[in-house]
Symmetry: C2
Subunit: 219 residues, 2 copies
């Protein structure tokens, strides 16, 4: 009956954390040792109460009335919450155009993610390397994941194959899946699927444009 995590953080709040982090680091780098919630809120276009609550949910040191919060303290509190300190290894399945893109993208290390290998069904790709990372055949998936203790799988295969790849990953001990295929994946309880569905983003962009431009064109 030990509850070490005091406040559980909502999904939404968690997703705001990287924005706080970015703003706080910028503030620190320009010399602000102390920062107030209203300041951050204004910068990020958020409500100040929300910012205060979010800060309270990750940090155990309270803010000081009239002054604010200690910048460096908040930064490390958020980094601790997000686990950017301990690096997470991941495998990527699907070395197509998007897969290759992610393999060569150098931005993930900053967030503690490192893609260790890629897998693909195409025998023309397997055995080779992409951006210094090996591309292995699918039958090596389970042994690699088990041996290297990998718990994150990145899916960049076509929609039609995503579910079977997902099943294979789950069967190999993966606990969290970053899904770039525009499909819903069914998984057992306890497995997190984070969808990075570009189609969903484009849906919003496209709708906004048709609303802004549509009326003019139709008249």
């Amino acid at each position: 009956m030990e509850k070490h995590i005091p406040v559980s953080i909502s999904k939404q709040a968690l997703q705001r954390m990287p924005y706080y982090l970015q703003a706080l680091r910028a503030a620190r780098d320009s010399g602000a040792e102390i920062i107030s919630a209203p300041t951050v809120a204004a910068q990020l276009g958020l409500n100040e109460v929300q910012v205060r609550k979010d800060f309270a949910s990750v940090s155990d040191t309270a803010g000081k009335p009239k002054t604010g919060f200690q910048t460096s303290e908040l930064i490390s509190a958020i980094e601790r919450t997000l686990g950017y300190d301990n690096s997470n290894d991941a495998v990527l399945v699907g070395a197509g155009s998007l897969g290759r893109a992610l393999l060569s993208y150098r931005g993930f290390e900053a967030y503690g993610l490192s893609i260790v290998t890629a897998f693909d069904v195409d025998p023309n790709l397997t055995g080779g390397e992409i951006s210094g990372k090996q591309v292995l055949p699918m039958n090596k998936l389970e042994s690699i994941c088990r041996n290297m203790n990998i718990h994150i799988g990145i899916i960049t295969v076509p929609a039609s194959q995503a579910q079977s790849v997902c099943d294979a990953l789950v069967g190999s001990g993966v606990l969290a899946i970053w899904n770039f295929a525009p499909v819903h994946l069914n998984t057992p309880d306890g497995i997190l699927v984070q969808n990075e569905n570009m189609a969903a983003s484009l849906a919003l962009l496209s709708k906004h444009l048709s609303e802004r431009l549509g009326s003019k064109l139709n008249d």
Copy 2:
């Protein structure tokens, strides 16, 4: 005072549309001329009332009790809503590792997005091509956007430059911004910013893992 759009669709509902589309197309391709809301709901792990409401919000033909909805009718209703029929041109700013990745990604056309050119500050890149798309210097941004009537800008520059690039895009007549930089962008009213913040996604993955693995390791 003409209201042609009857029901306004929530952001969340809009983001579910691509999933419906994928599921409906798959159903149609395997011969299902009629499909029911409970079927789709089960497949996508959603509530069936939600699915019915979502369908009702895009389609003007009602479903038939006991049978369901006409698959093809729903598909075209969603496509119409998302504007996948009319293609949207976009420019991309920042031909770094992520920018190049998106330029070479062939998956966007299916959603009606076509990236026509890229821009970058680096004189080593400008003048060249990436995946058959020209890379132009920043001072050409406004004229290109104006002449080609471009309303979508994709930002793949480092966080520190994202805001100024955003301002330049807005100043060039862009109405919707797809932002891959892990920063909040301030924009005037009427401009849509869709954030594709990988850091925010990683935050969720990372938290889930530390919850699943953390307790074991700490004991």
